[in-house]
């Protein structure tokens, strides 16, 4: 009987918790402290803000400086104070914890579209229309399709604020001249270039496979070039089939270049190398490789304090890029790009004004002048970009036949990079791709 007496209160407690457990939806999880606009009605009148906003992102260094310039310009034109709070590590974790704790930032960069979808469906994001901004009005500011990346379940939540081409291969023109080689325009030429560099006594490629997203970038550009936009769109959607032979074909093509002899440090070494160190292998003061495939941001990093600031001003001579080649004659004009979307987490007039400001050419121009990003806003003139590398990158994106957003950022959180790391190591990926397919379709379904 004594045992029952001890258990009884816990049993009661359990019943009580069960009763008050299942609530309906987390729609109020992000109810802002200052006023409370009815989050479900697309009202144009949002409550007044308190004159200051907080914006968070994971940028630091030069990227931070460039963005803070945009915030300062916003403050100058609107009078609303804007503070930038960086979270360099564990960004998604910190963001979610703040949201759960009822203390979300006003505006945040969302790292990855899977996270955007997840947060939007959690009810943590304020849609652009709730802030009183009409998508149709701002659609014209952007190249077609750019804004659609931030749409979740028919509502626009994330506005693309910056992007980088991911179809650029970086090299040093000086050293190319010394070796007597030239950039490639087709895949076969690229393979030949690799061999020529080896013959000239150097190691062709640097690879930062420790950051597995570098491998996903390789996969995406190769897949897009080989199989085109429709296949690409299908693959990175709930209908995607990762066991399709086109996937294996793209991986095999990648591995024609990423071999033990072609990569500095060998495969094992590259798997333990992070992307900035890999960039340094090509552009530091004592380089050990000649080619680095990455996004347009590589130029800023290579000439920045992390790698080799002496290269600043040497764009075109000591550092340049050539477009990712076509593969078997297909893929001309197709470009993958990576970008960040910004979303609002609090509904008030200050936030609405800031989000509207980000869609203007002025904001795009100030940000572009910082030299770290390409603005998706069409009206920004390419001449404002500080270096020829970035100007060329902007022109590549705007004049591309079709641009496709970084696929792995669209996936619902499953890790394509891990599969590619195994592939690069020489493991048989057939069974890994089957597992990945099962995992990914389960993840799409449970989003």
């Amino acid at each position: 009987m004594t045992k029952f007496r001890l258990i009884a209160p816990f049993a009661v407690l359990t019943l009580v918790l069960a009763a008050c457990g299942p609530g309906d939806g987390g729609a109020d999880a992000s109810a802002p402290d200052d006023g409370g606009a009815d989050a479900s009605a697309p009202a144009a009148d949002v409550p007044a803000g308190d004159g200051s906003i907080v914006v968070t992102s994971l940028w630091g260094g030069t990227e931070e400086t460039a963005f803070v310039a945009v915030l300062d310009a916003f403050t100058a034109s609107s009078g609303i104070e804007a503070t930038y709070e960086p979270n360099r590590t564990d960004y998604a974790t910190v963001l979610r914890t703040r949201i759960q704790g009822g203390n979300p930032p006003d505006v945040a960069i969302i790292p990855g579209i899977g996270t955007l979808r997840s947060l939007a469906r959690d009810g943590s994001l304020i849609s652009i229309s709730e802030l009183g901004i009409n998508q149709a009005d701002i659609e014209g500011n952007y190249a077609p399709g750019i804004l659609d990346v931030g749409v979740v379940d028919g509502e626009l939540y994330g506005i693309m604020v910056k992007l980088n081409s991911k179809a650029t291969i970086f090299y040093s023109p000086e050293r190319f001249d010394e070796m007597g080689v030239a950039p490639a325009t087709t895949w076969d030429e690229l393979l030949a270039l690799t061999e020529d560099i080896k013959a000239a006594g150097s190691t062709p490629w640097a690879l930062g496979a420790g950051d597995s997203w570098t491998l996903t970038d390789w996969f995406e550009i190769v897949y897009l070039k080989m199989h085109g936009t429709e296949a690409y769109d299908t693959l990175f959607s709930p209908e995607g089939d990762w066991t399709d032979p086109t996937v294996q074909a793209a991986i095999d093509t990648m591995l024609e270049i990423l071999t033990e002899e072609n990569v500095d440090g060998g495969i094992d070494g590259s798997l333990a190398t992070l992307f900035v160190d890999a960039i340094a292998k090509v552009f530091s003061t004592s380089p050990s490789a000649e080619l680095y495939y990455g996004g347009g941001f590589v130029g800023g990093i290579a000439t920045g304090q992390d790698v080799n600031p002496a290269l600043q001003g040497q764009e075109g001579t000591a550092i340049d890029w050539f477009p990712f080649p076509t593969i078997d004659g297909s893929g001309e004009g197709l470009v993958t790009y990576g970008g960040d979307v910004m979303a609002a987490l609090v509904a008030d007039s200050d936030v609405a004004e800031f989000m509207a400001y980000l869609t203007t050419a002025e904001a795009g121009q100030v940000w572009a002048e910082g030299g770290t990003i390409i603005s998706p806003i069409v009206a920004v003139d390419t001449s404002v970009y500080p270096t020829t590398l970035i100007q060329a990158e902007a022109e590549q994106v705007t004049s591309a036949e079709a641009v496709r957003f970084d696929g792995s950022d669209l996936l619902p959180g499953t890790d394509l990079g891990a599969v590619l790391q195994a592939a690069v190591r020489g493991d048989d990926v057939t069974s890994l791709l089957e597992e990945f397919q099962a995992e990914t379709s389960a993840a799409w379904a449970s989003e």
């Binding site: 094992d268 333990a272 995992e439």
Partner: protein
């Protein structure tokens, strides 16, 4: 390695005042502790249990999904458990840790404790061996990440191998070796703990027994395996249980050294729980893993309590 405190002794039985009447001193003394236990242990456990049957959007009870999370965890999540030959996944990695890390730490700890008793500078040895325990787990991870660095100008291991002209090894970049490299770091960090406790236990063995066995002609090996080990079996099980509990909770070493990588090769279940709940925002799924961790601890606790009860009876 974070050291779990050994399980607390059983709570004292509530006492009645003289004459059997109810005394207010009982709830007054037990109350604060009970409230803390309730608030920080019982309620969160029940919350996690219910959350594991839920989608858990934003940590709230958003949609009831029944056993979906559980089914998905054990059948559709190769990061957690992939049956096959050889098996892999976070759960398998924890099993590797439990088998190799615990047994090697206990064995090495015992060995060092026994051998240290033979020498004059025993205290110095124990102090040196114990130093890694004083290092925070994160610092430990960063130190060893540098040691394992594949660049032989940064990595101590590869610098030493380079002397013998063995090519630079990337132990942390290779999924076949990463778990063993991490277990080695874990052992390095925890041997001191085992040594100190087992050394105290060995000192408790009466010297007459050891002298008598030597007189009877037993070799040192026989003495070690047949006399010392059985006589310190309770402290060994205490150390082992503490280490096993530490393995189930293991997170910081993996997170800092490899972030679960390369790919997902070195993940452990606590890492999966963190990854699913926080960056991915699937709180219900993360809660499921948390409950699995709790369930894994239950047999260990039962074993431990039985052990203590058995020795209590003996005394």
């Amino acid at each position: 390695m974070a050291v779990a405190t050994p399980p607390a002794a059983a709570a004292p039985q509530p006492r009645k005042a003289a004459g059997g009447a109810f005394s207010w001193s009982v709830p007054l003394f037990l109350g604060p502790a009970a409230l803390l236990l309730l608030g920080f242990l019982i309620v969160p456990t029940i919350y996690s249990l219910f959350l594991s049957f839920n989608r858990g959007r934003g940590g709230e009870f958003s949609n009831w999904v029944g056993f979906d999370n559980w089914v998905r965890l054990f059948t559709q999540d190769p990061d957690f458990l992939r049956l096959g030959f050889p098996p892999s996944g976070a759960l398998w990695n924890n099993i590797l840790w439990i088998v190799f890390y615990v047994s090697l730490t206990v064995f090495l700890g015992l060995l060092i404790a026994v051998m240290a008793t033979r020498v004059r500078y025993e205290a110095a040895i124990k102090a040196i061996v114990f130093v890694p325990q004083a290092i925070a787990a994160t610092s430990l991870a960063i130190i060893w990440r540098f040691v394992y660095s594949p660049d032989d100008e940064t990595g101590l291991l590869n610098a030493v191998l380079g002397i013998g002209n063995v090519g630079p090894l990337s132990l942390l970049g290779n999924p076949d070796t990463v778990n063993w490299a991490l277990i080695a770091v874990g052992i390095w960090g925890s041997v001191g703990f085992a040594t100190v406790i087992l050394s105290a236990a060995i000192k408790g063995i009466s010297t007459e027994v050891l002298e008598a066995s030597r007189v009877d002609g037993a070799t040192e090996t026989q003495i070690f395996w047949r006399i010392i080990v059985p006589m310190v079996s309770l402290p060994i099980s205490v150390v082992a249980v503490t280490l096993v509990v530490g393995v189930i909770k293991l997170f910081d070493l993996i997170f800092v050294m490899t972030d679960g990588g390369p790919g997902t090769a070195s993940r452990v279940i606590a890492f999966n729980m963190y990854q699913e709940a926080f960056p991915q925002g699937q709180f219900g799924y993360g809660a499921t893993i948390a409950i699995v961790m709790l369930l894994l601890l239950v047999p260990i606790m039962i074993f431990n309590i039985r052990r203590f009860r058995a020795t209590a009876v003996q005394q």
